[in-house]
Each structure stands twice: as structure tokens, then as C-alpha cells.
């Protein structure tokens, strides 16, 4: 039964790709049915009605045993519910959003493939299985980002995402190999990992595995692909780049926490990476004008929070935030998508304005999502962020203050885009004539906004699923600090952008995204071009001239010299032959 989770979307992807592409309606139906089936199965698993199937042995060699199985512990169950639930809603939403796209059959096939690989990551029982699905997620995200491949920017963004992920995945693969070499197994087995304890390889393995997360979850320095990935259709941004795929990195960290916890050094590197990513991304988000880019950077910032929580040894907090973030960020993206849909794909918030009155449902749900993200008390984001701040405060005060400042920034930029895009006067014709989106797009927004409100409360049971929250070490200062931060951010945002019709602050450093793209461009140009030139020289002169032509020259010279011996004189040959035969006889019988 539990195999349905994987098989339903896989079959759907296969069917759509092989047979159903000319029939968009049928493809949509199959794909949505598959995601619904996956969600029902996940629900059955969470309620304990469906158990884990026996693992199939795939590779069984001495020293290497790879199974295709299913882990369905509390971590996986929570993640499965979140992923399949959000994915189902996004499938439904895409019905409306992609209604006029000629390639929508292909789109739904790719969504199914993505869902299958994402579920594969969640349920995998060992590193190799996880790696396979990990790469599949990379491929399907490449396909989805580049869905509008006739646009150059989309094709470039897809390639960039794929390459940045490859860099991280290479580290991940090395980490898996290191783990296998030292522990002798690829299974997620905390017992086997004890072989690593105290070994100098423990931090190496942990950090290499972390590389995978840096790529997938868009942590600095491999974050550059995430904002560009917004070139994909908005449902994709909601599904992949908000709720599920980028969360896979954090989920992976929680899954392999038994390796990470062996090395305090690695944990502190992870915590700092997360903290810095959270802060930098929030700073950049304050100065972006593209509504999807703001959301992308806020995603990156929230992922930074989660990684920070893992680094502070609080996987519960990380998973809690991951889940609530999945809900409200998917909600925000779909709300933004709804606006874009109404405004004919106008993404600049300064060319919107006043949309709130035309699209009340979108406005209210987006507002709830923004409030949840900003961490306004009473909504889910507040509770989960609270947990992370507590974890940070227990471990490293500096990181705590960074995180608190990030919370203020989050409130600030969410206020900014909400005010600028939805309130005030319409600044363009398109914004004046905006109409509310169809109900297939509104329905997921309503469901998700309900979830975004209630997911944080204990009756919703996320913490219960994760096995109770950590009661010890609650710092009373933390809620006060985070409340103050949120209030500060809100007020600052409201004052600055309350009636603004144009940008009031200009900080080029943030607007240009800390020049990461420029730095990478420059490095690639300089380093790669120079090394390429060096190698080209070596190829031309050392390999081409000395080795290849030199070798040919020596051989032909030898041939020319030997040819002199072969003058064609028959009698000379006979003489030499006799001489040789005599010599051999002398050698053999001479003594």
C-alpha cells in the first residue's frame, strides 16, 4: 500500500510523458489524481492505517548492501503530509494558473515526476537511495524552471540551478562515500555511525554531506540559483522553491543528524552558515522590486533559519519551521501568482498598487501568509520562529541577535511588498483592471491560509508528531526580543512605505544582491579563462607539438635511417642472414 506513494506519481509522470501529452485535460486529470492518491496514502500513514512495506534488496554485495525501502518514522510522516498536501493543492491551483498554456500537459507530467522524486527523498532508508531521488529532484526542478525554455532567461536560470546544485551534490556524494568508507554501510544507521565518533573524518563527512544541503536549500555561497529560478511558472516556485525541494536539504540534515551530532565543529559551521544566509538574504529582500524575487529571498532567509536550528542541534525546531514555512510560503507564492495572473505577468511591485480592492480573496490570504511569515503572534510562523530563536539563544548569543534582527527585517520587507502591491492607488492600467482569479486558484489559497494560521498550535499536532517539544531552557528574553523585532520591522515598514509611490530607500549593495552574481561572473571569467588559456597552451605546445608531432618525427626519422640498411641487394641480405645464423649457432653451441 505504502508503495502507492511513489508509484502513483511515477506512473502518472510516465503516462503523461509517453502517451498523454497531446491530451492536456487527460494529463491534468491523471496528474491531479496521482497527487491526490499520494496525499491520501500519506494521510493513511500518518493515521497509522498504512504500514511500512518490507524493503526490497537492490544491491547485495559483500560490504555494500543497498535497499529500496521506506522509512516512515515521525520525521518522514510529517514531511510526507506537508509535501503531498501542498503538492496536491498546487496541482489544483495549476489547473487555473496554467489554463491557457499550450504546454500544460508536459507541465503536469513534470510536476508528477517532481512529486515522485521528492517523496523518494523523504522515505529513503539509505544514502544511495536518497542520492538517486535527490538527483531526480534536481532534474525535475531543472525541467520545471526551464518550462518556458523558449525564453532565454528561463533556460539560463534552469541551467544555473542545475549547475549550482551539481556543485553541492558533488560534495554530498563525497560525503556519502566517506560515510560508507568509514562506517561500512550506506544505511541511515546511528549504530554504524559510532565508528565515526572521535575520528577526524567525522567533521569532514558531516560537512561534505552538508554541501548537498547548501546546494539544494540555497545557502550561501550556492544560493545564487534560487532567485533566478523564479523564471519558472509560479506554481513551480510555490511547490519547488518554497515548500518542498528547498526544504529537502533541511530534511536531509535532520535525517542524517546522527552523523552531524558527532562533530560539534561541523554543527557550528552549519549554524553560522544558516545564520549568515538568513541575515544576508533578508537584507537583499528589502531592496528587491520583483514580487517573486522578494519571496525567493525570504525563502532563502527562512531556510537559513532552519539550517541555523539544525546547527544548534534542534531538529525539532527546524522541522517545525519547515512545515509551517511550507504552508505559508506556498500560500504567499500562490497569492503572488494569482496577482501576476490577473496583471498579465507584471512582476514589479511598483507597477501594481491597489490590487487589494480588486482581488479581496487574494489580498486577505496573502496578508495572512505575510503576517505568518513576519512572525506576528498567534500565527504559525510566530511559534516556529520562536523555537528556532530559543535554540539559537541556548547555543550562541551572537547568532541569536542576528536571527532576531533578521526577524525584524522579515517583518519590514513583508510589510513593504504587501503595502506597495496591494494598497495605495493603481499605478498602471493593468493594475486598474485586475480581476479576482478563478475558484480553482482561490480554493488552495483558502486551505493554505487556514493551515498557515493553525499549524503552529499544539492541537494541530506538528510538535506531537515530532515527539514533543523541548520544554527545558526556555529563555524569557527570547519572546520579548522577537516581539520587539517584529513590531519594529512592521512600524518601520509601515512608516516608510505607507503612502509611497516609489522607492524611498536605495542601498545599491542590497539591490545588487551583495554582488554575488558579479563576483561569480568575474571569478569564472578570470579564473576559468586564464586556466583555459594555460591549458590550451599546454595542449598546443606540450601535447600537440612535443608529444604528438615529436613522437611522429622520431619514429619517421628512425624509419629513414633503418631504410638505408635495406638497399634491396639480395646478396647482401643473404650474407647478413648467414652471418646472423652463424652468430646464433656460435652463441648456442660456442662453448
Amino acid at each position: 500500500m505504502a508503495w502507492l506513494l511513489l508509484l502513483a506519481p511515477l506512473t502518472s509522470a510516465f503516462l503523461v510523458w509517453v502517451a498523454l501529452r497531446p491530451y492536456p485535460r487527460l494529463s491534468q486529470a491523471v496528474s491531479i489524481a496521482a497527487s491526490g492518491l499520494a496525499f491520501l496514502t500519506a494521510l493513511g500513514i500518518a493515521l497509522g492505517k498504512v504500514g511500512a512495506p518490507a524493503a526490497l534488496s537492490w544491491v547485495d554485495l559483500p560490504g555494500l548492501r543497498i535497499e529500496i525501502g521506506m522509512t516512515l518514522d515521525s520525521l518522514a510522516r510529517l514531511m510526507l503530509l506537508m509535501v503531498t498536501g501542498v503538492a496536491f493543492l498546487i496541482h489544483v491551483y495549476s489547473l487555473g494558473y496554467m489554463a491557457e498554456d499550450p504546454g500544460r500537459a508536459r507541465f503536469f507530467g513534470e510536476l508528477s515526476l517532481f512529486l515522485a522524486s521528492m517523496i523518494g527523498i523523504i522515505v529513503s532508508t539509505n544514502f544511495v537511495m536518497m542520492y538517486i531521488f535527490w538527483e531526480l529532484v534536481g532534474v525535475s526542478s531543472y525541467l520545471l524552471i526551464g518550462f518556458w525554455f523558449e525564453k532565454n532567461s528561463a533556460a539560463d536560470a534552469a541551467r544555473k540551478a542545475f549547475l549550482a546544485n551539481r556543485v553541492g551534490d558533488f560534495g554530498f556524494l563525497l560525503g556519502i562515500l566517506t560515510f560508507w568508507a568509514t562506517c561500512g554501510t550506506v544505511a541511515f544507521d546511528p549504530g554504524a555511525a559510532r565508528g565515526l565518533a572521535g575520528n577526524w573524518l567525522a567533521p569532514v563527512a558531516a560537512l561534505l554531506l552538508f554541501c548537498g544541503c547548501v546546494g539544494k536549500s540555497a545557502q550561501i555561497p550556492l544560493h545564487v540559483w534560487l532567485p533566478d529560478a523564479m523564471e519558472g511558472p509560479t506554481p513551480v516556485s510555490a511547490l519547488i522553491h518554497a515548500a518542498t525541494m528547498v526544504a529537502a536539504g533541511v530534511y536531509m540534515l535532520c535525517r542524517i543528524f546522527f552523523v552531524l551530532e558527532l562533530s560539534p565543529e561541523a554543527l557550528s559551521v552549519i549554524a553560522w552558515t544558516g545564520g549568515i544566509t538568513a541575515l544576508v538574504a533578508a537584507l537583499i529582500a528589502t531592496q528587491q522590486n520583483d514580487i517573486k524575487r522578494v519571496l525567493a529571498y525570504s525563502t532563502m532567509s527562512q531556510l537559513g533559519y532552519m539550517v541555523l536550528a539544525v546547527g544548534c542541534a534542534s531538529t525539532t525546531a527546524a522541522m517545525f519551521h519547515l512545515t509551517t514555512h511550507g504552508f505559508f510560503k506556498a500560500l504567499l507564492f500562490m497569492g503572488a501568482g494569482s496577482v501576476l495572473h490577473a496583471l498579465h505577468h507584471e512582476q514589479d511591485i511598483w507597477r501594481m498598487g491597489g490590487v487589494g480592492r480588486k482581488m479581496p480573496l487574494t489580498f486577505v490570504t496573502f496578508g495572512i501568509g505575510a503576517a505568518a511569515l513576519a512572525g506576528i503572534p498567534g500565527l504559525s510562523g510566530f511559534f516556529s520562529k520562536e523555537e528556532i530563536l530559543q535554540a539559537a539563544a541556548r547555543n550562541e548569543p551572537v547568532l541569536f541577535w542576528m536571527a532576531a534582527f533578521t526577524a525584524a527585517l522579515t517583518a519590514f520587507y513583508m510589510t513593504r511588498i504587501t503595502l506597495v502591491a496591494f494598497l495605495g492607488k493603481p499605478r498602471t492600467k493593468a493594475a486598474e483592471h485586475a480581476k479576482e482569479s478563478p475558484f480553482v486558484m482561490g480554493f488552495p489559497l483558502i486551505v493554505l491560509s487556514v493551515l498557515a494560521v493553525i499549524a503552529g498550535y499544539s492541537f494541530f499536532g506538528i510538535e506531537h508528531l515530532l515527539g514533543g517539544h523541548e520544554a527545558e531552557g526556555k529563555n524569557p528574553l527570547v519572546p520579548m526580543a522577537s516581539l520587539t523585532a517584529v513590531l519594529l520591522g512592521l512600524t518601520a515598514g509601515a512608516i516608510t512605505y505607507g503612502r509611497a509611490n516609489q522607492e524611498r530607500i536605495a542601498i545599491p549593495l542590497f539591490e545588487r544582491k551583495f554582488y554575488f552574481d558579479e563576483i561569480y561572473d568575474w571569478t569564472v571569467l578570470k579564473l576559468q579563462e586564464e586556466s583555459a588559456r594555460l591549458l590550451a597552451w599546454a595542449d598546443q605546445w606540450i601535447v600537440g607539438f612535443v608529444l604528438v608531432r615529436g613522437g611522429a618525427f622520431v619514429v619517421s626519422l628512425g624509419g629513414e635511417m633503418l631504410r638505408l640498411l635495406q638497399a634491396g641487394n639480395l646478396r647482401e641480405y643473404a650474407f647478413l642472414f648467414a652471418l646472423g645464423a652463424g652468430g646464433i649457432l656460435l652463441l648456442l653451441f660456442g662453448r
Binding site: 634491396g568 641487394n569 639480395l570 646478396r571 643473404a574 650474407f575 648467414a578
Partner: protein, 102 residues
């Protein structure tokens, strides 16, 4: 003078072989070189027969019959080649047959 020993035969055979070899090396005419080759072949035959006779075994002599037969065949082919070569080139001098030389 007693009866000839194995040594006598071998020396004779060696001399014949050397004469043949010298002929192949020194002479220019293909026909003569051919005859010298035959001398060398027969020198080998002689030593085979001598060994066979003195070790009271027939195997050597049987081998010699084979050699003679094969040599006859070979001579037939070789002489035919020589005749047709002469018809084409009007010469049997080794130095002057250079069609295949580079």
C-alpha cells in the same frame, strides 16, 4: 685409409654447405644462386643421411626423401618463375630486377 667415419661425412657436408652459401652470396646470376641453394639443401641431406646411418635409425633417411621431393617441387616452381622472368626482362641478374624496389 680406413672406412670413413661420421666426422668425414659431416666435414664434407659442412664444406658443401659453405660452398653453396658462398655461391649464393657472391654470384649475381639468379640461376646460379638457385643451384647454389640446391647444393646447400643437399649438404643438409648428406648430414642427415650420415647421422641416420651411424645411429642406425631410418628416420633421417625418410626425412631426406621428403626433402628431395619438396626440393623437386620447389625447383619446378622456381625455374618456371625464372623462365618467365627472363622472358619479360631478358635478364637473370639479381641487381637488375628492381621492379618492386623503392
Amino acid at each position: 685409409m680406413g672406412t670413413p667415419t661420421l666426422g668425414h661425412y659431416l666435414v664434407l657436408s659442412g664444406l658443401l654447405f659453405a660452398i653453396g652459401l658462398a655461391g649464393v652470396i657472391v654470384r649475381r646470376d639468379l640461376l646460379i644462386m638457385y643451384m647454389c641453394l640446391e647444393i646447400m639443401l643437399n649438404a643438409a641431406n648428406l648430414s642427415l643421411v650420415a647421422f641416420s646411418r651411424f645411429s642406425h635409425q631410418v628416420r633421417g633417411q625418410v626425412l631426406v626423401f621428403f626433402v628431395i621431393t619438396v626440393a623437386a617441387v620447389e625447383v619446378a616452381v622456381g625455374l618456371a618463375l625464372l623462365v618467365s622472368l627472363y622472358r619479360m626482362k631478358r635478364t637473370t641478374k639479381a641487381e637488375e630486377i628492381t621492379a618492386l624496389k623503392f
